[in-house]
Each structure stands twice: as C-alpha cells, then as structure tokens.
Symmetry: C2
Subunit: 167 residues, 2 copies
DNA sequence: TCAAAAATGTAGCCTTGGCAACAAAATTGA
DNA sequence: TCAATTTTGTTGCCAAGGCTACATTTTTGA
C-alpha cells in the first residue's frame, strides 16, 4: 500500500499498537492537558518569583530597588525594568520613575502564598534528606509546579517526619 | 556600602536589617545562582519534553509524525515544525520534509534519561499519597527541576515505601 | 555647590514558543 | 485514476525575557 511510512514500512517495533487503539484518544488529551498545565504555570512563574523577591527586599530594606532586584535575580537592570512594567500592567506592583517598587495588595497576597509554598517545598526536600543548598536550588524551580494536593501531601510528610520548626 | 537604601526614607519595618548585614552579599549570589539554575533548566525543558514524546510515539507507532506530536503536546502543527527545526539544529532529531521524525543517538539517550526521571518522580508522588491523575500533571512540570541528588532521595523513599513495581 | 558616580530609564536586538492563514505535498477512497 | 482529504510546510504576527549600549536622573562626597 501507498501509505508507506504511515504504517511504518514493516511494523517491527509496535507490538502494543493493535492491542489498545481505543485509549489512545483519551491519552492524547491527558498528555496535552498536562503540558497545557505546565505552560500555564510557566506564565505565572516570573510574576511569582518577582513579587516574592520584592516582598523579601521590602522586609529587609523597607523598599525594593531595581539594582537590588537585578543583583538578586541575576539579570540585568534592563530586564528588571521590563518585567516590572509587566507586573505593573498586571496590577501586582506600583512604581514611579526613579523610585522604589512596591506591591499592591494583590501582589502582597501573591507573595505571601508563594513564600508559604516555597518554604514547605524547601523544608520537605530537607526532611527527605536533601542537602539544604541543593534543596534551595531545586525548590526554586519546583515550587511553581506543585498542585495544592501535592502540597498537602508534602505537609503531611513534614508533620510526620520533621520536628516542627527546623530550618 | 554607603548606598542609599541605607536611608530608606525612615526605616520603619526593618528590624532585622542591622542584625546580619554580612550575609547579604552572599545571599544575593545564592539567590541569583538559583534563578540562573532554573533558567537553565527551562531552556532544556522543551527539548526534553519533545524527545520524550517522540520516543513514546515511536515505541507506539514505529514513528513520530507532526500531527501526532501536535495532538499530544497540545499545540499547533506550526509550533511543532518550528520546534523540530530547533531540535534538528541541536542534533537531537533527524527529519526530512513530509516524513516522520526520528531521534539521533543523542536524542535517544536524552529520551531514556528523561523517561527514567519522569517515572521516578511520578511514582514518588504516588507513593506520597498523591492521586495518580494529579501526580501525572505535577510530574510533567516538576521533573525538569529535580537535581540528581533530589532524584536519589526520591528513589530512597520509593525503595522504602513502595512495593516495588507498582504503576 | 557641583562634578563624578550610581541608579534608573529607554531603544534596539535576539531567541523561544505560541498562533492563524495560506501553500503544497501525500494519502485515501471511490 | 484522480478528486477530496489529510498532513506537512511556510509565512507573518505576537508576547515574554534575555542582552548591550546609550541617555537621563539621583545620589554622593569632596
């Protein structure tokens, strides 16, 4: 037949193919949904990292300045400016030219949530036996991809395996 | 540092500031390094997801076609084409116009590693009490941000808490 | 006070990863 | 065989996030 490689020339390595053609369509959706979910989380990632950092700087210094954000995020001040403009547009921060950056109530709320989640992830990894330095690195990337259900599971684990407030 | 943040208008909410001014510089680097680390992982994320999916499709159908990738990744076929061009450029896949996509040895190696890691993360979350559907969603995002050390910790946990080969 | 330094803003460029719309090739089925 | 359908390719658009280089404002310190 002409369909040539659609049917794989000669089906050498597809033993399971004819076994379950039905579930395929559903699995397609499942997988696509998972990636969509990740892409979604991705979009909020930067905003969350920034508001968290801004909240931190405000707690430390009373204000968050572009130069400190640049140092702490590890990017140029031009990038900071662009990102802050987006956060401003999205109602998470307020800022005036040549002045420090502050959080809106919405930004503060997001920062609180993120910090709480971050701490749980970090402490969870530590309780699991990961070295704090590594836990710190991993938590930064992982925290944005943890569903509420998984976060609850982390907390359960902490309650059983961590002697309350260790850092 | 003589800088301005010192004056902060009137230091209202910075009680801990003077307590440890020394560690700040180091923490800046630490934090920046963590974000750099996450950005790095980010760049490899798409490549890893694609080669993993391509390997899956080849295992199922003997080949990976654009239309199937689009369905499974949840993006348009135009996006698939662009991404495949990048993967080709980076030596991870081989493809010819209007023909299926295959992995280079390097791509296959990456796919193997990713699948192994993905499975560990998925099973770990399940062992922790997370529902499989949720574990599936979270694993897709989390797997790219797990260091080798943390992965080992996951495996240790699995060895103790999972009855061998459960799915 | 005022020049130098630091901080901030802006412009232009780049890559990634999305999309829709249209073009072309391949496959299918009558 | 060959027209309709499906698949693939291409083009142009967009936003996010990076960067450098240069312009402007603020702050510092002599």
């Amino acid at each position: 037949m002409k369909k040539s490689e659609s049917q794989v020339t000669q089906k050498p390595a597809e033993p399971s193919k004819s076994l379950r053609p039905r579930k395929k369509a559903l699995l397609d959706l499942d997988r696509a949904a998972a990636f969509e979910y990740v892409r979604q989380a991705h979009q909020e990632e930067t905003a969350q990292d920034y508001v968290e950092m801004i909240a931190d700087l405000i707690a430390q210094h009373g204000e968050a300045r572009v130069v400190d954000l640049a140092k702490n995020m590890g990017v140029s001040h031009a990038t900071i400016n662009k990102t802050i403009a987006r956060l401003n547009r999205d109602g998470l921060v307020v800022n005036r030219p040549y002045r420090a950056i502050f959080l809106t109530p919405e930004g503060e709320s997001m920062a609180r949530d993120c910090k709480a989640r971050h701490d749980i992830v970090f402490r969870f990894l530590c309780a699991l036996g990961v070295k704090p330095a590594t836990a710190h690195l991993d938590a930064e990337g992982v925290e944005h991809h943890i569903s509420p259900e998984t976060l609850k599971a982390f907390e359960r684990f902490l309650k059983k395996n961590a002697p309350a407030g260790n850092t």
